[in-house]
């Protein structure tokens, strides 16, 4: 896995209090990782800060899994 992916997973682990081995690419934040809607907003804002990217609302609505987050950051950071 790329180092970007590792960093994204690190952010997810910190924000959602989960472990890296739970962060499978298909893991859904809300259904699998115990996040609520505020957590997902916080997570997106944290990713924006850490990677210096802007994630528009209509894009962030579609970032539902660990894989989605990694893909977005890899393509845009």
């Amino acid at each position: 896995m790329s180092s970007t992916a590792d960093k994204v997973i690190e952010v997810i682990c910190e924000k959602l209090s989960v472990t890296a081995d739970q962060c499978l690419p298909e893991a859904k934040f809300i259904d699998d990782l115990g996040a609520d809607s505020l957590d997902t907003v916080e997570l997106v804002m944290e990713l924006e800060e850490q990677f210096n990217v802007t994630i528009p609302d209509e894009v962030s609505e579609n970032i539902l899994t660990v894989g989605d987050a990694i893909k977005f950051v890899e393509e845009n950071a």
Binding site: D36, L38, E42, M45
Partner: protein, 247 residues
């Protein structure tokens, strides 16, 4: 009550009710970041409170300016380390009958009273969410519940604050952040000094307790809502009005 060492931000803390709120919080051992529109008004109020520089600091800010709010709250967070309590108290009036009310009168009152509270709430949300606790108190007015001829703009802004209070309370409840509103009635301050004698007489005659309220009587309610004791109360509006409006 337990506000000791809590960091409290009070907008419009340089005069009137806001200054009394600061005085009470300081007396109860809280740390206070006080906001006025100008450096001068803010620093005069800090002096008047007579606390140490560690306990009270003053900041100049127009709460209607979202960018400036972001900057000043970042400064407050770096000065005090965290924010436990936000009191959205800054407010203005531009009273006149609607027939004569200008669009600017409407926009300005909305921008300071309603958008100001939104701006400041946004600025403390993330730090409070991280702390997993917080208290936000919005100063509304009984006029927001009853309406008042000559105050269409002001009453709308104060009623708006109640809807804003309830929505923020619901959004933030899962993070143990409570949001409540306080609706003062007729409190003797510079804001009410501006009212004509005849209007004042008429107003006072409708108050069951038969007198104007004192700013420190509003501050007492704020001290309670800011404390740990109010933990199970959120999304509510409390009138401090001598019985003027009974729900």
């Amino acid at each position: 009550m337990s506000v000791k060492d809590k960091v409290c931000v009070v907008t419009g803390g340089s005069r009137g009710i806001g200054l009394e709120i600061c005085r009470r919080l300081v007396a109860d051992g809280a740390k206070v970041a006080l906001i006025g529109t100008r450096e001068e008004t803010a620093q005069n109020a800090v002096k008047e409170l007579g606390a140490t520089a560690d306990q009270v600091k003053g900041y100049a800010l127009n709460v209607a300016d979202g960018t400036a709010v972001g900057e000043v709250f970042t400064q407050i967070l770096s000065d005090f380390g965290q924010v436990d309590v936000l009191v959205n108290n800054a407010g203005i009036t531009r009273d006149t009958l609607m027939m004569r009310m200008k669009e600017e009168d409407w926009d300005l009152v909305m921008a300071v009273n309603l958008k100001g509270a939104f701006n400041c709430t946004k600025a403390v949300m993330r730090p409070m969410m991280k702390l997993r606790k917080g208290r936000i108190i919005n100063i509304s007015s009984v006029v927001g519940l009853t309406g008042n001829a000559g105050q269409a703009n002001y009453a709308a802004s104060k009623a708006g604050l109640i809807g804003f209070t309830k929505s923020s309370a619901k959004e933030l409840s899962s993070r143990n952040i409570t949001v409540n509103a306080v609706a003062p009635g007729y409190i003797a301050t510079e804001m009410t000094d501006a009212v004509s004698d005849a209007a004042r007489e008429a107003f006072l005659s409708n108050i069951p307790l038969g007198r104007a309220g004192e700013a420190k009587e509003v501050a007492a309610m704020i001290a309670f809502l800011a404390s740990d004791e109010s933990a199970y109360i959120t999304g509510q509006t409390f009138n401090v009005d001598g019985g003027l409006v009974m729900q």
